[in-house]
């Protein structure tokens, strides 16, 4: 029963308002209301979407709850027009009948993915228009599609009107998608069947940050209300969670200056709901504090071009000593050095700066301070884990004349040369005191396991000891031992996976391998040519597998693409995580292609055989920011039988990497990495290797260096 505003009247009002030419609209260009998040954690009214987009690269996390439903949603504004969301919903008392009869009051956990694309920008007389897919894969509990328009009327009022399909069709004829689809896109149902209208308004109150919302919802919550769904899934509701008395929802929201949003809602004439959101954005300026760099020591106008100094006894050691002293101020070291009277090349270890350009700039300044006037050009080679990754050559004259030029960064960028690097020239100096080198560390660790179908949130943590013995540049032995104090699952049930249990026995490893040797391996990285890199690893490579891993990568420093191949022979480790193995062994490997776009997107395709013997490909896309942030998603499709694979049908997930210098405000190469995977299954699983070649060298290649080139003078 509709309470105070009938559907046609409400939709009509919203649509007319959204599409109408308004005198007020002419005033609204500069002072539009910021977009807010709705109960689905996406840009919207309350339950209904709007056509707006969040600011580019905005990362939002939203938790909302009403009746028996709790939703957690992670959203990312992938491009200025395209947004993507991953949602995890918990539905209490969602009875599921099986062979043994209905279970009593089981909670149901549902994962869903959304996309929205803004087709048209808002103009003086036209609204913004967007198309969206909500829950477009899998069981489709929230499956709906929509076309929506939103228009600001002045700076305080915003109206939205839209058309919806699926759950948003404003009918009672809604079914969840066939569950046998699992994690596959439910394309066949998109924009099909009945279509319904929805709409609403937002009003910015005179109180800063406080806004009111009202909407007409075209979602009848059929699946949550009916005793039996019509999809033949044997899913039954023992009792309706709530009574949808009205299509009208009302809300009040408060947004703090720091981007947190609190919302309270009166929903469907019978329920009260709440929501909380928070936002991060890699593009929001943070900056970090670091010591000022040494200024460029410029040569006078009548500097000496004499190269007699090269004949001084022990000049190499002296030059290295002075250069090392300068670089040490910024936690860098000289890995190798070669020079003559007019040119100098230094290979550096950089343990401080995430932006290679900054390390290059500081090294160039140190070289200008140390080398006599006759040296006209400097080549700086970043060495990452023993791999000389690129050669950046700067003319000393440019360094001197552009340091204080208002366009100095841009001009210098056009004059440096970034190329591949070969062997150190004959006569070069490799300091003998760098290796062997032993390092160790003891640190707490923690983990959060999210979105498991039976335990959606679990904490684990303990202490981990790590050690590395660096025998020479590129050759090392390293290992880690961990002891847990908090275990996510104290009584893990055996894996029921129909595939080889390459990952789903994680609970057994946690139970029996505590403390355990997580990793103990020897690694050798080397170069087969200026643009060809190699790696051989042997030992206990990761928690679940040991053996031999080999890899080769072709990646030119000046190109934005590369090719790689990996071949491994591994055997499954015993649950105790000591030195024994189980019977299962496999040869696994992939060929990989890497491609970076100019606007910061990185694509990777890996084709090959996975740990369970399944064959297929992994597709990854990451938005990589020039300050070290990365937000990405991946999906692995293999020939593993979907029935054997289990819930989820294929491996997929989203991942996030946040540089610590952003969080801490001080220079650091470290970052926080986290991943939201749908479910851990045995299909589509690769060996976990933490020093794969592409990740090792890419930051020292032209695309990444020029991306953060602004830091050259920092």
């Amino acid at each position: 029963m509709k309470t105070f505003l009938t559907k046609p009247v409400f939709i009509g009002c919203a649509s007319i308002l959204a599409y109408s030419v308004s005198a007020i609209a002419l005033q609204s260009q500069e002072t539009r209301m910021a977009p807010s998040l709705g109960m689905f954690g996406t840009t919207g009214l309350i339950d209904m979407p709007t056509a707006e987009s969040q600011p580019d690269a905005e990362l939002t996390t939203n938790i909302s709850a009403f009746s028996d439903f709790t939703r957690g949603t992670f959203s990312f504004q992938i491009t200025p027009r395209l947004s993507g969301s991953f949602r995890y919903a918990k539905l209490n008392n969602w009875a599921v009948s099986g062979p043994g009869g209905p279970f009593t009051n089981p909670d149901y956990f549902d994962r869903s993915f959304d996309f929205q694309y803004r087709l048209l920008d808002e103009r003086s007389y036209l609204p913004a228009v967007a198309v969206g897919l909500r829950d477009f894969m899998g069981t489709g509990l929230y499956s709906s599609q929509y076309l929506v328009a939103t228009k600001n009327l002045g700076s305080k009022l915003k109206v939205t009107g839209g058309l919806g399909w699926g759950r948003l069709s404003d009918t009672m004829d809604v079914t969840a998608i066939d569950s046998t689809l699992g994690g596959s896109p439910n394309i066949g149902s998109w924009f099909r069947g009945d279509v319904g209208g929805f709409g609403g308004i937002e009003w910015q109150t005179p109180v800063e940050g406080l806004r009111l919302k009202a909407e007409y919802s075209s979602d009848h919550y059929v699946l949550e209300n009916e005793l039996t769904t019509r999809d033949g899934q044997n899913r039954m509701r023992p009792a309706a969670s709530f009574e949808r008395k009205s299509p009208i929802n009302l809300g009040v929201e408060y947004r703090t200056k720091r981007g947190m949003q609190f919302g309270a809602y009166y929903l469907y004439g019978s329920e009260v709901g709440v929501s909380f959101s928070t936002a991060l954005n890699p593009k929001r300026n943070n900056g970090f504090v670091d010591r000022a760099p040494t200024p460029v020591h410029a040569r006078g106008s009548n500097y000496s071009g004499s190269t007699d100094w090269t004949q001084i006894a022990g000049i190499q050691d002296k030059a290295r000593e002075q250069l090392d002293k300068e670089l040490n101020k910024d936690k860098m070291r000289v890995e190798a050095l070669h020079f003559n009277g007019v040119h100098a090349e230094v290979r550096i270890q950089n343990r401080k700066y995430l932006a290679v350009a900054q390390a290059v700039g500081r090294t160039a300044r140190a070289m200008a301070k140390v080398f006599p006037d006759s040296v006209e050009s400097f080549t700086i080679v970043p060495v990452n884990n023993g791999l000389a990754s690129s050669a950046i050559t700067i003319q000393r004259h440019d360094l001197e004349t552009l340091e204080n030029h208002v366009n100095g960064s841009e001009l210098l960028a056009g004059r440096v040369d970034i190329s591949d690097v070969g062997k150190l020239p004959v006569g070069g100096l490799r300091p003998t005191d760098l290796y062997p080198r032993f390092t160790w560390g003891i640190a707490p660790y923690f983990g959060i396991q999210l979105f498991d179908s039976t335990n959606p949130f679990a904490l684990s943590g303990g202490i981990r000891g790590t050690a590395q013995y660096q025998i020479s540049s590129g050759l090392s032995v390293s290992g880690s031992i961990a002891k847990s104090f908090v275990t996510a699952d104290k009584n893990p049930s055996p894996s029921a996976s129909g595939l080889e249990h390459v990952r789903t026995d994680i609970g057994q490893y946690n139970l029996h391998g505590d403390p355990g040797i997580e990793k103990l391996s020897a690694d050798y990285v080397f170069k087969l040519g200026p643009a060809v890199y190699g790696r051989i690893s042997a030992g206990y490579l990761e928690r679940m597998f040991g053996g031999v891993s080999t890899e080769v990568l072709w990646k030119r420093a000046d190109l934005n693409w590369g090719l790689g191949a990996e071949l491994n022979y591994v055997k499954q480790r015993e649950f105790r995580q000591l030195f024994g193995f189980q019977d299962y062994s496999i040869a696994t490997g992939h060929v990989s292609a890497y491609y970076e776009t100019k606007n910061g997107f990185e694509f990777q395709v890996d084709v090959g055989r996975y740990l369970a013997g399944d064959v297929g490909a992994t597709f990854s896309v990451d938005r990589s920011f020039d300050n070290g942030w990365r937000v990405g998603a991946y999906a692995t499709l293999t020939d593993a039988d979907s029935a054997l694979f289990g819930e989820g049908r294929f491996d997929k997930g989203v991942r996030l990497e946040i540089p610590l210098n952003w969080a801490l405000g001080t220079a650091s190469q470290s970052s926080i990495k986290t991943a939201l995977t749908s479910l851990v299954r045995d299909g589509g699983q690769r060996l976990t290797i933490d020093n794969r070649l592409y990740e090792t060298v890419r930051d020292s290649h032209a695309r990444k260096i020029s991306g953060a080139w602004g830091r050259i003078w920092q």
Binding site: R284, G287, A357, L664, T666, Q669
Partner: protein, 213 residues
Amino acid sequence: MIKQALIAISILTLSACSSNNAEQGGVGSIVKAQMKTMIAARKVAKSGVKPEAAKPFTFADIAKTKAQLVRIEIPKFKSSALAQFVNDNGGYKTYFTAGQQSITLKGSELTGTRGFRHDLIARSVGGETRTYKYLDSENHLRRFDVKCETTSAGTEDVQVLDKTFRLRKFEEVCRNETKAFKNVKWVSASGKTRKATQWVGHEVGFIIIEWLN
């Protein structure tokens, strides 16, 4: 809130024991420095003794040193420091503070800062239109253009350290569509700039520079 959580995670993770302080980044040192500061502050508070105020710096002190010094002050951060000349690259003079921050001046014009978190990367000198360059959060350069006009504003008594100078005052108003600010310069009869207030950027605001010798 997320940022605070990340900081907590970072400190928890990185304040661990290690053979390699360099690789543990600045976190360990930050934690240690903060703890030292907190402990020292608590000791002072417990002792009931007020810390002795620093002795004012005078021109007599300046006369004892051969170093070229300027005094800089950032009103927005309520901080000040002495900075010493360290380098001249084609007339661009760089001064360093003991806290490892630097400013670069072309004549009396500020053209760059380093170590300020939000630095002025470069600035054009001369001409009616002036360009400021900054780094954004993505390490990309951003330019900010203003048009400036200088006018004489009479003479004023200006105190620098323990001396008062009678100086000519020049005001420079810079503006564009979104921003307007005023730089002020006090110049002696001989043409030497003794003091200046100059806009650094949106985050830092203004810097006051006093030339001490």
